[in-house]
Symmetry: C2
Subunit: 234 residues, 2 copies
Amino acid sequence: MTVSIVGAGPGDPGLITVKALQLVRDCEVLVYDRLVATELVAQAVGAARISRDGLNQEEVNELLVHHGRRGRRVVRLKGGDPFIFGRGAEEAEALAAAGISYEVVPGVSTLTAVPALAGIPLTSRDVAAQVTVLTGTNADGTELDYDRLAGTPGTLVIFMGLRRLEHIADELILAGRPVGEGAAVISRLSLPDAEVRTATLGTIARAAEGLRSPAVVVIGDVVHALRLREVLAA
Amino acid sequence: MTVSIVGAGPGDPGLITVKALQLVRDCEVLVYDRLVATELVAQAVGAARISRDGLNQEEVNELLVHHGRRGRRVVRLKGGDPFIFGRGAEEAEALAAAGISYEVVPGVSTLTAVPALAGIPLTSRDVAAQVTVLTGTNADGTELDYDRLAGTPGTLVIFMGLRRLEHIADELILAGRPVGEGAAVISRLSLPDAEVRTATLGTIARAAEGLRSPAVVVIGDVVHALRLREVLAA
């Protein structure tokens, strides 16, 4: 295996997997996301460490192919999980197209870390039987289908939705989602400066003012249902 | 912190987090799920190791409260992630109600591991912008809302759906989901005997015959779209 596409977890360096940490320690080339903890980058002792910052996706792909072709042990270390909106698939495809062997090592997704660390269960036997996960903007730049989302039962989890939160909340309410439904924004999950704010769909945009990225938005009555949040935050 | 509710990851012992492994090694009481790797259970050297097998949820809760109340370092080690249909919330609530301090350590969910290990991206810029996650049976025993699910855009991921797969597929088709839509069952993900079978919604029940639990069902054209599966399986 020359290239490993690896999830680093949501931010806390302790939330990387054992397998992923071993790969980072043994690699010769590390290509890492801006949001990956510096403690993890530092584990790649002796490796060429390349920040992905300032490179576009095409350039990242080329970098992986370049070093992979030379048979180097390359780790592509990504925040969260590589495939949950992580664009790991594009990198995998570029490697496959170039005939370079690779593996994918899953990580703790921000999605998974929301209930554990913000105390908001995404599903609950009483309140929500399903969860739908999406990004705040469609890849092609078109609007989300708010009518459908308003009619989608259960919890909505929106990645990369903080910047457009006021618009998203307005459109969901216009499309019929209850203005009093629970809503939360979790900023910088698992990091020391993590912050959780809860409100209703009608007030969440104001409540979230000043929060920093990365952030994930949760819409649904699970936000209030179990009161686990207060317990966990204590 | 006396009780830690910890995700062990999808099966491969290397997919536990660094933090979780440390907690397992340091604990005095380990309460573990049947599906957790024996290699991980063996790491709790010197701890009382209690299988959850044969206990009902109420009994598990009582066990955690009992040892937590005595101030022991307890680890509740659960397959996958504790909160993605893992009923970790019920255990957390029982501890909170008893006034016992606890923490939750998220794990790599089976959900996250599907794309990485089975080569099926759950979302794709071209094919599916969102993913909806549910279980094959509602907690209250009622039928799923197939009409709504048929109209839900993007990918469906169904946990604990293997046993009722024929029924679920039939109902989805009756409700209007295309018979030719991609479908996959991933059995024993991340374990040495993992198996992935892909078909269409119309043929998946037959294709999945003989597969063992735990299994996760993916419905959507992402199953075929990127052909990553063949690449990764190679």
